[in-house]
Symmetry: C2
DNA sequence: ACGAACGCAACTGCAATTGTTACGTTTTGC
DNA sequence: GCAAAACGTAACAATTGCAGTTGCGTTCGT
């Protein structure tokens, strides 16, 4: 699925950060670990920064770090920060040419989807990113040494 | 959203069929009404036929019709027939190179999505396609006359 | 047997997303 | 100060998924 791409990059990275919150990670580091490009990483993590989950620092020893306690970041926070919603999102312009069956249907389905998404967020809100970090994690044990 | 395209074609068409179950509709008719191509209609409705919701007949006076009572067809039936699932759907090949955070995350998120989708299906299952057909529907009142 | 419909495969076109390159800006360390 | 290392951003290329289209075969009914 396409929707999982950015979300999984974000969750994956935050999962690691939860295991070692002080460590500063560069986008190149992260990109290398998840198998993508530094610019892509910056694009995704930039969203998380806007949402107040991460902080980035420029300059020589810059990089990315959690902006608050890992325990206070839930999967829902990450999901919402990327604003990829299930429901189509309001192309409900009242086009008079549309037939009534179509309109009634859209309303009905949209209602259900809205409701379902709320439940999804609720469920995601119940787990923090600290809970997805296993005790043994090679990537984190590697510490600050960036071995090419 | 892209996911809504086929689903809305399917629901729209079934909604109309529920209002006049005996009438045979050609894919060209339907395509004209929903503003698309006959082949696209056949692609989507073909899925519904595989699921036992519709029957199609070839030949001169062929076309599409409900395969069972409209009251027995729920929105969930249509949703499931198109097999567009929320959850990424089993690319869970145990790649040893994947890091444990990633794996744990996928499992966790997949669990939630599975659960959420079950609720979605349950909700959709509560309404039948007869409930989305308004009493006054110009398209259906037009009857079998296909006015170009 | 001819026309009208579906069935199916292949191709094109479009839109969204990701990947890539390039360049500017900021900060650190020397 | 100045070079190196990092982010920020814009622009472009590559990829992907899906709708749309065409074409042809098949199957019916008249």
């Amino acid at each position: 699925m396409k929707r999982n791409s950015r979300l999984s990059l974000a969750l994956h990275t935050l999962g690691h950060m939860a295991g070692d919150p002080q460590r500063m990670r560069t986008s190149a580091d992260i990109a290398d670990h998840v198998g993508t490009n530094p610019v892509v990483v910056r694009r995704v993590l930039g969203k998380l920064r806007e949402a107040g989950l991460l902080r980035s620092e420029k300059g020589h020893s810059g990089g990315w770090r959690l902006a608050k306690s890992a325990a206070d970041i839930s999967l829902a926070d990450v999901y919402l920060a990327l604003d990829e919603r299930l429901v189509s999102g309001g192309s409900e312009d009242s086009d008079p040419s549309r037939c009534s069956v179509e309109v009634g249907l859209q309303v009905r389905v949209a209602e259900v989807l809205e409701d379902i998404e709320a439940q999804l967020v609720k469920r995601l809100g119940e787990t923090s990113i600290v809970e997805v970090h296993p005790s043994s994690c090679g990537y984190c044990e590697a510490g600050s040494d960036s071995e090419k």
